[in-house]
Amino acid sequence: MAVRILLADDHPLTRSGIAEFVRREETFELVAEAEDGAEAWEKIKELRPDVALLDIRMPGYDGVAVAQKVKNEGMNTAIVMLTSYDAQQYVIASLRAGARGFVLKTVSPKELTTAINTVAKGGLYLDPEVASVMGEQDFIPEQLSVREREVLLLAAKGLSSKEVAKQLFISERTVQTHLASIYDKLGSRNKTEALLLALKYGVVTLEELLEDD
């Protein structure tokens, strides 16, 4: 059965380019196009596509807001963010809003196909270009300790070191030590990368990240 897809992008040229990719693929079915956040949300409610490709920046409300609505309504539509911005914070914001894919608009059709298929099956797809470290396939991360996992998850939810310390009843200094150790084990240079890598290696799952959020 073909994957039913909705495409929302306010830029007509980019939208038609991507639409053409999608249409060419036999296993995909483009059910609707939208040019802003409100139209996308209306069409998602109406058509219930399997996958929604959303531009992050759109007039009215943006892609992240649409993803949040989809998540809040508990719909089955999987969201792939499609963007020209490579900021990792956009990835984090998208993931927190329930998106399962994050793809730059410069991707090849092959990569886009992979992304759509991955998220349609419930997986997570992040564009390798977003976090360059994501490309190092042969890296095997060290196992995180239970405490380190807790620290990483809380930090990933946007809590500051101070708040993490308060919640886990440890000192702020200890939180910093844990974070340094986490970076080291995952081969990341900062919190965001650590989280993305942890997701990639399956150290933490997207579900855990979205818990009581």
Partner: protein, 464 residues
């Protein structure tokens, strides 16, 4: 009437001065006038008194001598000695002498010979008092009266002014001195008032009139101006100088801004020219070659790589110009920037936020200001301070958001830092950050000590 006058004088400063001058000139002129008149009339009165006294003396003497003719014939000497006057000196002031037809002194009261000869003049009129001076300029009045008796002769009477009038004569001598002194004093005080008050005040007011604030500093006041005006003038001078400095500062700031703008445009032009433009040209060349090339796939692959490079370059360029991820909120924006900077400079950057900073609605331009401050601070920490670790903290207290960027670099002596010293020392970035914060109604503080790193604290009100 009085209120009208008051109104008139209150209206303008120069009228008041004229009033002040009149108040000084009129009374002193009046004093001089009254003094002169008083002196003259006193002189006249004194002269009249002395004259009538001397005339009376001479006349009464001549009358006695004329009527008592039988005594006179009997014995001249005994006759005269009947008058106590001649034998043991006058009991009233003055001297009397009887002179014969032949000009010889027949008899004289004691001491009178010496006095009368010292003041005697040949042209003396008869029957009228005359005022004369001796060689010491002492005043005398003299009267000569004829004696009507066969032997004839004259009675000469004289009196000294000091003898008759005593201290009054001295007063008359002092009068002119007093008058001259008062006149001179008034003259000098008016002159002083003119040169030290009126002229400086006029020059001060014309200075103020003609001064363009921010351009001129008032001229120096004339020498010897009174202290009060001098201090007003100095205050004005300081004020004008401050205005000039402020103006210069502003001009310099505008020039800097314009320069910075132009520099930025040149940088952008160069970046586009050397980057994207070159790449797109290469892309075009590849596309041209596709048409007549059998190895189309390789050419296409190459074109794709070039196009991707262009996109990446333009994206980085846009991020540099105005980070789009500001939309995500202040914490995310700072985290993103911190992570990028940490990779770019290869240093550790820690970020920490208060729980409630992210919930605050902060305008994008304020977030952008915070990002620029962080950029500038981290760049300075690495370039000047050789720091290896930077700590970024964002805290919120009520409506005040505070950003703290501290590093472990070399630090410097920050005791006397302000916009101007920053600018002069070439820290344009920090100087414009400071100005940017003050435009937002916030503050930016730089504290640093050698070997203790640098801390930059920016805070502003998010409600404002």
């Amino acid at each position: 009437m009085l209120s009208q006058l008051r109104k008139k004088f209150a209206g303008s400063g120069s009228h008041f001065l004229a009033f002040l001058l009149c108040a000084l000139i009129i009374p002193s002129a009046a004093v001089v006038f009254v003094a002169v008149a008083g002196m003259l009339s006193q002189e006249r009165a004194m002269e009249a008194a002395v004259s009538s006294y001397v005339q009376d003396l001479a006349e009464s003497m001549s009358y006695h001598l004329s009527s008592d003719s039988d005594v006179w014939t009997f014995s001249m000497l005994s006759d005269f000695t009947r008058f106590p006057f001649f034998s043991w000196g006058p009991s009233i002031p003055g001297w009397v002498a009887l002179i014969g037809q032949d000009g010889k002194v027949i008899i004289a009261s004691p001491g009178s010979m010496h006095i009368i000869t010292s003041i005697w003049r040949n042209d003396l009129p008869i029957g009228r008092a005359v005022r004369v001076e001796d060689k010491q300029a002492a005043q005398y009045t003299l009267a000569v009266y004829p004696v009507k008796r066969p032997s004839g002769g004259y009675v000469v009477a004289a009196v000294s002014w000091t003898q008759l009038l005593g201290g009054l004569v001295g007063v008359v001598r002092i009068w002119p001195l007093l008058i001259v002194a008062i006149a001179l004093l008034s003259f000098f005080s008016i002159r002083l008032l003119w040169s030290r008050v009126v002229t400086p005040l006029r020059s001060l007011s014309s200075d103020i009139d003609s001064m363009t604030l921010g351009k001129d500093v008032p001229e120096n006041l004339p020498e010897g101006t009174i202290q009060e005006i001098e201090s007003v003038h100095n205050a004005l001078r300081r004020y004008a100088q401050a205005a000039v400095e402020r103006d210069n500062l502003r001009n310099r700031y505008v020039r800097d801004v314009v320069q910075a703008q132009e520099q930025e445009r040149m940088d952008m032009a160069r970046e586009i020219h050397d980057g994207a433009l070159q790449d797109v040209t290469a892309l075009l060349q590849q596309i041209h070659m596709i048409a007549d090339d059998e190895n189309k796939t390789t050419r296409l692959k190459r074109s794709e790589i070039i196009a991707k490079t262009v996109v990446r370059e333009l994206r980085a360029f846009c991020d540099e110009l105005a980070p789009p991820w500001m939309d995500l909120g202040v914490n995310e924006a700072i985290t993103e920037l911190a992570e990028r900077l940490s990779q770019a400079y290869d240093i550790i950057i820690m970020t920490d936020y208060d729980e409630d900073t992210d919930t605050a609605e902060i305008e994008n331009d304020k977030i952008l200001s915070l990002l620029r401050i962080i950029q500038e601070a981290v760049s300075n920490a690495v370039r000047h301070g050789h720091a290896s670790e930077v700590d970024i903290q964002l805290t919120r207290e009520n409506d005040t958001l505070t950003l703290e960027v501290s590093d472990n670099g070399k630090g410097f002596e920050s005791g006397h830092i302000n916009h101007e010293t920053l600018r002069v020392e070439g820290h344009r970035g920090l100087a414009s950050m400071t100005e940017r914060m003050s435009l937002m109604g916030g503050t930016l503080k730089i504290s640093s000590k050698p070997e203790e790193g640098t801390k930059i604290t920016a805070s502003f009100n998010i409600g404002a």
